[in-house]
């Protein structure tokens, strides 16, 4: 019986080519989109799960209570935190990871590598795959280092450089190491990005400049990770953390009254989605994949049930021959599953062929594995079964219900009745509701990403270069001065300046609470930065009130720095605030802030207020910032260059100058736009992937609509002949036929608009700087959907309307 079912199915594919192409093609596209987006979701949710026992690894996160970051748990923990946990809770297995950029000097040229400084138990927390050598106990020796296979091949041209020496330059000094082991390169699904692992050395020498930052709790460090036996052990450890903080934090943080900190554990495998909006992005694309597949299944249901009448005689004969209803349902389900199977093969081929485009659009490296733990064949087989049954259930039930006697007696094939027509209309409404919601979503996503590129971010992002390698501690003061001087003299350069805050990052974040005169409490937390002469004009910041720093005003220079103290120390200083800081300090307007002094123990007088400079993601609010004036801060300054002409040529010129002055220090620079792109990239990729999915979903909807229109129009030819005989014009007939399909598209908006509104409101709420959710997007999407539907059905309607009545009346 199954054999005959499959034989009949295969032959019907060639007999009804168009219908088969529409059905299988639509299902194939749906499966391809589902497959690709499924791969994406699987990839994004697989971060760090490749680490053995990853579920029992926890990151210690920090909330700086009362600071500008209050309420957010950050991944940076004080270095002192793990020291305290280790002391108070012996036996806890954990490690810090302090990532720095070290330089490997090869043939006189410096190459930057990411170096992770870790504690001795690192490989107990992270049992990374070892390719050569041994990692047990090696980190007890601070002269030993572990490298990845990439580094081994790059510098030693061998996968086994055990015992060989490598010298790293960082913190202004050279450090020699012996290679003790080689580990596998980090896989794509990890946020860890280092190729060298060495011992994190804690200094007990109080004269060492690193001592304070390693022992006080108000200094951020790297990350801290702990491995537990299970969730219960993690819960117990978590309950101990407040005690550790109480016993150590305040006492180990002198000169910071009222300092408060909280620690919590966050599971390693949940970290990838901590970035704002990241989980929503992945969920959204997953939903797009599922809905697109659903649309394809709805297409099948619609087309199969519309054409069911054509098979009524066959059904009646099968019943006459003794087929029970169950046998018939089984027969048509087998057909549906067979259709899904053919579509799955095509869909797999389409996904494979389309993957390079998707990878390019989404900034991904997805690939399809067929067998194994990550293999798609088994899940695809299951999908074929589920999709086939879902798609075939209604048509099978409908077909099996045809009354044999009535069908055999009738000259005309049944149309499924009013119920059938209504069901199909509901399905078209569902398809277009989803399609219109997708169209709205696509427009909003694209508009938001375009907004990111063009919105006022408080400074002029064009023709601005950021030279981040100026922060490299291996540069000498004279090299730094020489470089700044040379860059200023390059053709096309208008001005050069430096700061520890620049577009795209470079933010070494220090913050303090500044009490407001006349108000109790510690006051708002404000981040403070240094700016060198010409910084604001070079960056192109908008001045809102007062003036900017000027060397002609000697009082502008920060006396704390002039006298060799930290920039935030207690001597009074002139400052420039950003808008957010002025608001946080309760000044009613930027103008009202000018000349005012705030901060009890570190008095700061406002000489100017500038617009908020959005140096990072549009998702994160611009924090309150204040700037003090320095001639040069050698430790943290990034260079900024305002120029005219071609950015590429300018970059090359700066790089050339760098290579001549400091070849042993790796050069790193990019345009401000490139630096900001790092934050926009993810949203760009999401918008592109969403658009691809949306366009294909709309295409599937159109394919189904075209098939339905074709079928329905053919069934109505005789009716059209009668109407024309009675006096209907071709226009009347076209209106009748087209209206039949535009009605469900219009009704679809009742569902699409609220769905799209809720979804897009939630999406946009993740951005601090966002577009308004204008009704124009909804209207445009509706008009577009109507146009697409019209274009899809008009040709057939026109053809049917132009048929001569006599021919139409003879048509059966």
């Amino acid at each position: 019986m199954i054999r005959l079912s499959l034989i009949g199915f295969l032959r019907s594919l060639t007999r009804h080519k168009l219908y088969s192409a529409l059905n299988i093609g639509g299902l194939a596209v749906g499966i391809a989109v589902f497959l690709v987006l499924g791969l994406y979701v699987r990839f994004e949710t697989s971060y760090e799960k490749w680490i053995p026992g990853a579920n029992n690894v926890w990151e210690v996160e920090t909330n700086m209570v009362g600071s500008v970051f209050d309420g957010r748990f950050l991944e940076q923990t004080p270095v002192a935190a793990w020291s305290a946990i280790n002391r108070d809770l012996p036996g806890t297995v954990g490690t810090r990871i302090q990532e720095i950029q070290a330089t490997v000097i090869q043939h006189g040229i410096g190459v930057r590598e990411n170096f992770a400084m870790v504690d001795p138990d690192f490989f107990r927390v992270f049992p990374l795959p070892v390719l050569d050598g041994k990692v047990d106990g090696i980190l007890s020796d601070p002269t030993q280092i572990v490298v990845t296979q990439r580094v081994a091949m790059k510098y030693f041209r061998t996968a086994s450089p055990i015992g060989k020496s490598i010298t790293l330059s960082y913190d202004g000094a050279q450090h020699a190491y012996k290679i003790a082991a080689v580990i596998a390169d980090m896989p794509p699904n990890t946020d860890f990005d280092f190729d060298l692992i060495g011992r994190f050395v804690i200094t007990e020498d109080k004269t060492n400049p690193l001592y304070v930052s390693q022992h006080q709790w108000d200094y951020g460090g790297g990350q801290t990770f702990i491995r537990t036996m299970n969730d219960e052990a993690a819960a117990r450890l978590s309950s101990e953390l407040p005690g550790v903080v109480t016993r150590h934090a305040a006492g180990e943080t002198p000169n910071n009254d009222g300092f408060k900190i909280a620690l919590r554990l966050q599971r390693l495998t949940d970290l990838h989605f901590e970035a704002p909006g990241s989980k929503l992005m992945v969920t959204t694309l997953g939903i797009v994949g599922v809905l697109t597949l659903l649309l394809a299944i709805v297409n099948y249901v619609n087309l199969a049930s519309a054409r069911a009448g054509l098979r009524a005689r066959e059904v009646a004969m099968r019943k006459v021959l003794g087929a029970s209803r169950q046998a018939l349902v089984r027969h048509y389900l087998i057909e549906a599953v067979a259709t899904a199977a053919v579509a799955a093969v095509l869909g797999l081929a389409t996904a494979e062929a389309g993957l390079p485009l998707v990878n390019a659009a989404g900034g991904l490296t997805l690939s399809i594995r067929y067998v194994g733990a990550d293999g798609v064949l088994l899940p695809l087989a299951l999908l074929v079964l589920v999709a086939g049954i879902l798609a075939g259930a209604y048509p099978a039930l409908m077909l099996s219900r045809f009354p044999a006697a009535a069908v055999l007696a009738s000259a005309r094939s049944p149309g499924g009745g009013r119920t059938g027509t209504r069901v199909r209309e509901v399905l078209v409404i569902f398809q277009f509701a989803v399609a219109i919601a997708f169209l709205v979503g696509t427009m909003v996503l694209v508009a938001q990403t375009m907004h990111a590129r063009s919105t006022d971010i408080g400074f002029n992002r064009s023709n601005l270069l950021v030279v981040s390698s100026l922060t490299n501690s291996n540069l000498t003061d004279s090299q730094r001065d020489s470089l700044l001087h040379r860059m200023a003299g390059l053709p096309g350069v208008m001005s050069v300046a430096a700061s520890n805050t620049v577009p795209g990052g470079g933010m070494v974040t220090s913050s303090s609470n500044f009490p407001i005169p006349g108000m109790s409490g510690p006051g708002p937390s404000i981040q403070y930065f240094e700016a060198t002469p010409g910084y604001f004009s070079t960056v192109g910041v908008r001045l809102l009130a007062g003036r900017l720093f000027d060397l002609a005003h000697p009082g502008d220079l920060n006396p704390n720095v002039l006298q060799g103290h930290g920039p935030g120390d207690s001597l009074p200083a002139n400052v420039v605030l950003n808008e957010s800081a002025a608001r946080a300090l309760h000044y009613p307007s930027p103008e009202a802030a000018i000349g005012k002094t705030f901060g009890k123990d570190s008095p700061r007088t406002v000489i100017g207020v500038v617009a908020d400079m959005r140096y990072q993601s549009l998702r994160v609010p611009v924090p309150p910032m204040l700037f003090t004036f320095v001639e040069r801060d050698p430790k943290y300054e990034n260079g900024v260059i305002r120029f005219t002409g071609d950015p590429k040529a300018m970059l090359n010129a700066v790089q050339e100058a760098w290579r001549e002055e400091a070849p042993e220090v790796p050069f790193e620079a990019n345009t401000a736009q490139q630096a900001l792109d790092v934050y926009y990239k993810r949203d760009d990729h999401t918008a592109r992937l969403f658009s691809i999915g949306a366009v294909l979903a709309v295409l599937i909807g159109c394919v189904g609509l075209w098939g339905l229109a074709s079928f329905n129009t053919a069934r109505r030819v005789k009716e059209i002949g009668i109407r024309k005989t009675l006096g209907a014009s071709s226009t009347d007939v076209v209106k009748l036929l087209v209206g039949q399909f535009l009605r469900p598209v219009l009704i679809a908006n009742i569902f699409a608009w609220p769905l799209a509104y809720v979804a897009m409101s939630k999406w946009l709420a993740g951005f601090d700087d966002r577009i308004a959710l204008s009704p124009l997007y909804f209207i445009a999407a509706t008009l577009l959907a109507l146009t697409i539907a019209l274009v899809t059905v008009i040709a057939q309607s026109l053809r049917a309307a132009r048929a001569t009545p006599a021919w139409a009346l003879r048509h059966e």
């Binding site: 009949g8 199915f9 032959r11 006459v320 021959l321 003794g322 087929a323 209803r325 006697a405 055999l408």
Partner: protein, 226 residues
């Protein structure tokens, strides 16, 4: 073998009630060849569909070989049809996607009981009606007469107790129609019970008994003198 008692069939749609069969009482003996005649709309096909359990009467009793079919559910009726009946229609009703051989095989496909060597039975049925040489062709590749012969092969492949033919020659020319009637006659001679609806008086004369219907009732039932 067959006994219909007070069979009624009414169709109710919206505000209209149509009586297709009214108070039908009919007996058909095993091995009989019965022809049913009457004008269009008199209920001939409805009566045939009732005999074939493709349509359920609104009231009355249908006994087949002493078994009351009213008690059977849909599944049981389907099995009854598969095991007991064979159908031949005016418009052949072959399945276009299957070859002639496969169409004939479909006559055994829904039987639950084992049927011995299916292939052999199919071959024998095709042979019986002279259609073996077209076994691998599709219906649209055959003439009307050949298609009807294939439909007869499908009807007889399971050796049914009763063959129901609804205007089997209605779409055929005289020569092909005669060939079909010859096959039915020979099947009856071998003991098959046949009930046939026909518009053709000459074909009705081949049957042993002729029943005339009008407005849903049997108005006469005349056995042919042998």
């Amino acid at each position: 073998m067959i006994q219909l008692e007070a069979i009624q069939r009414r169709y109710i749609s919206d505000e209209v009630e149509t009586t297709a069969l009214s108070d039908i009482n009919l007996k058909v003996a095993e091995g009989e060849f019965v022809a049913i005649m009457g004008p269009s709309g008199c209920g001939k096909s409805t009566l045939l569909n009732t005999l074939g359990t493709v349509d359920r009467p609104s009231s009355g009793r249908y006994m087949f070989a002493g078994r009351d079919l009213a008690n059977l559910d849909e599944g049981a009726l389907a099995q009854f049809r598969a095991e007991t009946l064979g159908f031949v229609f005016q418009s052949f009703n072959l399945i276009d996607e299957l070859t002639i051989q496969e169409n004939v095989e479909l006559g055994l496909a829904y039987r639950r009981s084992g049927g011995g060597d299916r292939k052999a039975r199919v071959a024998a049925a095709m042979d019986r009606v002279g259609i073996s040489h077209r076994a691998r062709h599709f219906p649209h590749q055959l003439s009307g007469g050949q298609q009807q012969r294939a439909a007869i092969a499908r009807a007889i492949v399971g050796e049914p107790k009763l063959i129901l033919a609804d205007e089997p020659t209605g779409n055929l020319d005289t020569e092909n129609g005669q060939q079909v009637m010859d096959i039915l006659t020979s099947l009856n001679a071998e003991g098959a019970t046949i009930v046939m609806v026909t518009h053709s008086p000459s074909h009705a004369d081949i049957a042993r008994r002729r029943i005339d219907m009008l407005d849903g009732r049997i108005v006469s039932s005349v056995a042919r003198a042998i």
